[in-house]
Symmetry: C2
Subunit: 428 residues, 2 copies
Amino acid sequence: MKILKNPDLKDWAMLAKRPSKPVAELDLLVDEVFDNVRKEGDKALYAYTEKFDKAKLKSLKIEAAELKNASKNISKKLKEAIDIAFVNISKFHTAQKEKVQKIETTSGVVCWRESRGIERVGIYIPGGSAPLFSTVLMLAIPAKISGCKEIILCTPPDKNGKINPTILYVANLVGITSVFSVGGIQAIGAMTFGTETIPAVSKIFGPGNQYVTAAKQRAQNFGVAIDMPAGPSEVLIIADKNADAEFVAADLLSQAEHGADSQVILLSTSTKLIEDTQTELKKQLNKLPRKAVAAEALKNSLAIEFKTENECMMFSNLYAPEHLILACENADELAKKVVNAGSVFIGKYACESAGDYASGTNHTLPTNGYARNYSGISVDSFVRKITFQKISKKGIQNIGPAIEEMAEAEQLFAHKNAVTVRLKKFKK
Amino acid sequence: MKILKNPDLKDWAMLAKRPSKPVAELDLLVDEVFDNVRKEGDKALYAYTEKFDKAKLKSLKIEAAELKNASKNISKKLKEAIDIAFVNISKFHTAQKEKVQKIETTSGVVCWRESRGIERVGIYIPGGSAPLFSTVLMLAIPAKISGCKEIILCTPPDKNGKINPTILYVANLVGITSVFSVGGIQAIGAMTFGTETIPAVSKIFGPGNQYVTAAKQRAQNFGVAIDMPAGPSEVLIIADKNADAEFVAADLLSQAEHGADSQVILLSTSTKLIEDTQTELKKQLNKLPRKAVAAEALKNSLAIEFKTENECMMFSNLYAPEHLILACENADELAKKVVNAGSVFIGKYACESAGDYASGTNHTLPTNGYARNYSGISVDSFVRKITFQKISKKGIQNIGPAIEEMAEAEQLFAHKNAVTVRLKKFKK
């Protein structure tokens, strides 16, 4: 980590910038794959899976029997852990369902909102060595609670054409409608245009590598919505002098192991806490299987000493971290001052891993400074909130003249007339 | 209007498609203007305003005195009408503020969400003959209620360098922080990058022509969020045999006058209602100042007779209209079956104009079928819902082992270790 002390205010904006990285020009590849998927359908999916994933598939759709059988390969202990996460995530997200509130804005004019689940949504889960089954929980549980009728999941097969059984187990547990063995740009293309086997969806969720990210971005041009813009994961910790350096270092590393491009930031008013954390980082890093990745991420990372906790919070709000850990005695007070963050962890026992897996909050959060303008995933992400209004004869008499006046001022006379014809009827 | 009777189910999808129109290739122009605004700042804004709006400005920012004086040019009657709209929109949107609900998902694990207004937002209001002051109300009121600290407004000047006084009056009334006299791609560029005078914002809201739409789309590549994708406005009316053809025609025309590319659709089980509406359309159309525009829009529009009201609703859900008027006696029942729509108007007195101006609901709604995946503007659009969690010693003891188990199964050992170091401390 780079260690800085009381940086000049004029340098804050520069320090709050994410390390820039070259953006691969993938547009041409995305266009090519999308075109083929649109024209050739399943045939293109089989061909790309053979080309990119080195897997020869017989079928794209995972059969119901295979989904059910996945359970056999999962240990009892892991199933119990997943059950705890499932219950907590369900409790927290169920509380996000909006109750209908009818508001009589003027006598005779009643307005309200009702949420409707997006009819068909798609979840993308990356392949690779680590099976991200926790993301299946984080996306499918709110989708189910929101009333989405059809939830499909695409994930790439390994070289043997297989999907990790834990992903299949969780997909079955949470009630995914169909699981498809396809990944990369071609999976996003399939969910955008639909093929013989894979239906087109209205919104695509889930993480992915640069190919998947570029494809999701492009999918938007074809009327599909996406969850949020993507970027490397990050954590910012504000720790006071009484924080436990061992915990702080462990939390920094839990973020750093995500990828070489992850960023971790430590802010403190205590020189000693920063020093102790560096010592702990070295100690813990050596024991990690993903040591090389975490060490690389630490190179991009900062520890900054500020004069006051208030300055720490000001910098945090400027940085807008995906995860913010407040390892301070007055964490409750500091939490009130949070303006820009994805998810906030209060106190020494609230580690980021808790929110990543099992406390109940969602782990799909805005990265890369997007916490300034985006929220993390919630039930809101899976519904449309439709407004309704019911207007009585009395109601239109009450607000009609105002509508006529405003419509005329905007020179929209047909808008005015829609009221006039109604008010006239009453005069007869 | 094209009139169809009981179309075959296989043709529904085609009928529910919006009339396709050539999309202008504006990317090069947007890139050029954005580049210049980024490099030259205000200087570029003055130059483009002279080039595109034919106005030579002395200042981009509208002075406080001018904002206050705008009131003098507004009639008492219009002010009173605006006041009614202001109160109703405020009532409806204030009710959307989410109350904090603390959920104890497991003993010792408390999770909740708090909303924070996006710190700085930008509103774009088009120029032209009709001053869209109602859109200022619809965007600035929820922004204020959401706690956005800074709300800026950009709108193009006329040839004399002036902004319509009603826009200035409403901007002042609702508490816009600053109004800038700049429009088009250059306004979106200014709000994206910031200039000497205009601050960069985190999210851009508001309607616009194809140039503004292309610029908003592009702004997203620079980390700015936008309200929603744009498209021509539309209404779909389901009317039963007892509906008032005069009202139905007036409502269709109030949408048709928006633009030649607007689409209006009438669904009914009654041949007579469809016929009577055609007669009424002809009668009313002739009296409209925007007759030519409305007549052009009607050419793209459909009246479809179905056998049952249920079929009408199925077609409506397939079409996913921005505005849906249920001019039926059993409108309440039908409303329950709405799955895809922006805003729903129930009964014969709930005309679209009511929601456009003064009932209290928002008029910035998803068009072009985007009601399938997007909601209209609400307080949600102006906040980030940040999740918080507080975990006690007991709490981490309760969920810690599940986190360890799941992290290990995902091969993320540093995630596991963040829990392990905490649990270990308790054992000592």
